[in-house]
Amino acid sequence: MSQTARIQKPRFNAQTWIILAGIAIIGSVAPFVEPTLVGQMTVFWIMVLLSYTWDTMGGQMGYNSFGNVVFFGIGMYVTAAIQVGLYTDLGTYTAAKGGIKLTLTLGQYFTGLAIGLVAAGLAGFLAALLIGSGILGLRGHYFAIGSLALGIFVAELASGWELIGAGSGLVPPLYPGVESARSLWLYFGCFALAGITFLVLQWVYSRRFGLALNAIRDDEDKAEAMGLHTTRYKTIAWAISGIFLGVCGGLAGNFFQFIDPRDTAFSGATYGVWMVLMVVLGGKGTFWGPLIGALLFHVFKELFWSYLLGLQYIALGLLVVVIVVFFPEGIVGWFRERFPHWFGERVDPPPEATAADPVREPAE
């Protein structure tokens, strides 16, 4: 066995790759099998993205953040502002409150989008780095409250800033091609980004970085006493999720085709809370938990919105109560408590007879 495999169960073994390949095939075929649900499936991959990026802080590192939605919203605005700003004056465009229709060629559209998404990732990264170095000195509940306030603060800021449309919001440029093509490439954009995010995050967790985050989660004082650069790790962890949240926001803004500062971009009460719920439902800090959580949550949410309209928030609230009461560790965590050997936790016999060792403690 390799050194790493002896330290922790490998994240990617043959079985994992087979499951991932299965998901990749289903994900690639699904929009052609069920074209009417492409929009739904796009939202699903956005949810998966939100859930895995939240898990970096909330699950792996144990810092419950209600402010991740900030980077999502920043990504939305940055992408849309660049898409518009490259070809016309942003101030005039937003001042017209949707009155100006920007007509672009396909080439112009995708150039703007590509530059916008790269800038969104960078903006998410820098914002997380900057905000993180400011508020990551807070711990536990104090960080949770601080990050919650952060989301509200940024939403207010955006709804007062005329250049990006203030309270009237911002409309990304219209796609110059046919609508069905638009929804398809947006679907595949979100799907691919979710895949990349998943792989990058798991790669990061399999390095020393991952164990350092877990150490901070389990006992930050101990981690400090062992010489770990806790603030540096925390800030970089947030900045990594900030990159993917930023790009994800850029795609989501183009998917929604309208960016409202409070209801889409910096919506703490919807996306900001949903990302937490999905991870808690699936299992914080687990490999598949965020995916399972996102799937179940999305399905339940859509069912509530379709069949219990008017009562949907009550039903969603009940779902949250059921999750917290019956699955405090999430679904994967529930299995881990009951079947720890599935996760590689077991007692091994010693390599050779050293039974006379006086320090070896009898089983208690």
């Binding site: 050194q3 790493t4 002896r6 330290i7 922790q8 990061v204 399999s206 390095r207 020393r208 970085f209 164990l211 350092a212 877990n214 150490a215 989660r217 389990d218 006992d219 004082d221 101990k222 981690a223 400090e224 006493a225 062992m226 010489g227 770990l228 650069h229 806790t230 540096r232 790790y233 970089i236 800090g285 720890p340 590689g344 936790e345 077991r346 007692v347 091994d348 016999p349 010693p350 390599p351 050293t354 060792d357 006086p358 320090v359 070896r360 403690e361 208690e364």
Partner: protein, 247 residues
């Protein structure tokens, strides 16, 4: 032997409570030094001051000829001055092997180092040290699932994994089954002799500290009461009075 840790006239008060007053101690390279004293005499406060857990009110603390009294905990730990906790602290939701790998030294770690894979030999070293403290068969169990005594041993192994130059142990035998204490004393001595780790040990168990330490400092009421060889301390009337509560 050169001086490794030098505490000069160190004082620390919490509000009106003077926990440490004008304390001077010295630990030389390769030694095992004991720190004893009745409950509330300021031993743990002194430890906390040394490792940078709180600022001191006055005096100086030097480690390897470097003033460390204004450095913070992780910086001091990276210099090679490590402590274990009286209330054992391990990473509860990680397996013992992960606990060990997370305890690798962070000395000189740069940005790229954060994303490094585990060097070859890390698992070997972790298994070796877990074997050393007798936890090899439990290496894939979560730290939090171990008994308190086993967690103490794990914490000790983690400290060794960090390759400290000086290790401050806060009551290493508290809560450990008496039949295992001899084994632990033996481990501490071997860590000192074979791994070259200097030890400063707080201990309430007199039999343990008399067996282990080469020199002993005794604190009482926040002040340094006596210092000397174990036999001298054992027979010092002031020490006996402090422990028995004479005035």
């Amino acid at each position: 032997m050169s001086t490794m840790l030098e505490v000069r006239n160190c004082s620390k008060a919490f509000g009106g409570v003077v926990a440490n007053h004008d304390i001077s101690i010295e630990v030389r390279e390769g030694e095992i030094v004991g720190l004893i004293g009745p409950n509330g005499s300021g031993k743990t406060t002194l430890f906390n001051s040394i490792v940078g857990y709180h600022p001191i009110d006055g005096g100086s603390i030097r480690f390897l000829d470097k003033e460390i009294s204004s450095l913070r905990v992780p910086n001091i730990a990276r210099l090679g001055l490590l402590r274990t906790f009286q209330q054992t602290r391990i990473y509860g939701k990680m397996t013992c092997m992960q606990n060990m790998a997370a305890s690798l030294p962070y000395r000189g770690e740069g940005f790229a180092g954060m994303f490094r894979r585990f060097d070859s030999g890390v698992a070997d070293r972790a298994e070796e040290l877990l074997e050393f403290v007798g936890l090899y068969s439990k290496r894939n169990l979560r730290g939090g699932d171990l008994s308190f005594g086993q967690q103490k041993l794990l914490e000790f192994a983690m400290a060794l994994m960090n390759e400290p130059k000086l290790l401050l142990l806060d009551e290493p035998t508290a809560g450990i089954n008496p039949t295992l204490i001899n084994g632990l004393i033996d481990r501490l001595k071997r860590a000192n002799e074979q791994l070259g780790i200097t030890l400063l040990v707080i201990e309430h168990n007199m039999r343990v500290i008399m067996n282990l330490a080469e020199r002993i400092y005794c604190l009482a009421h926040g002040e340094l009461l006596a210092e000397g060889l174990p036999e001298a301390i054992q027979n010092d009337q002031r020490v006996i009075d402090a422990y028995l509560g004479a005035h």
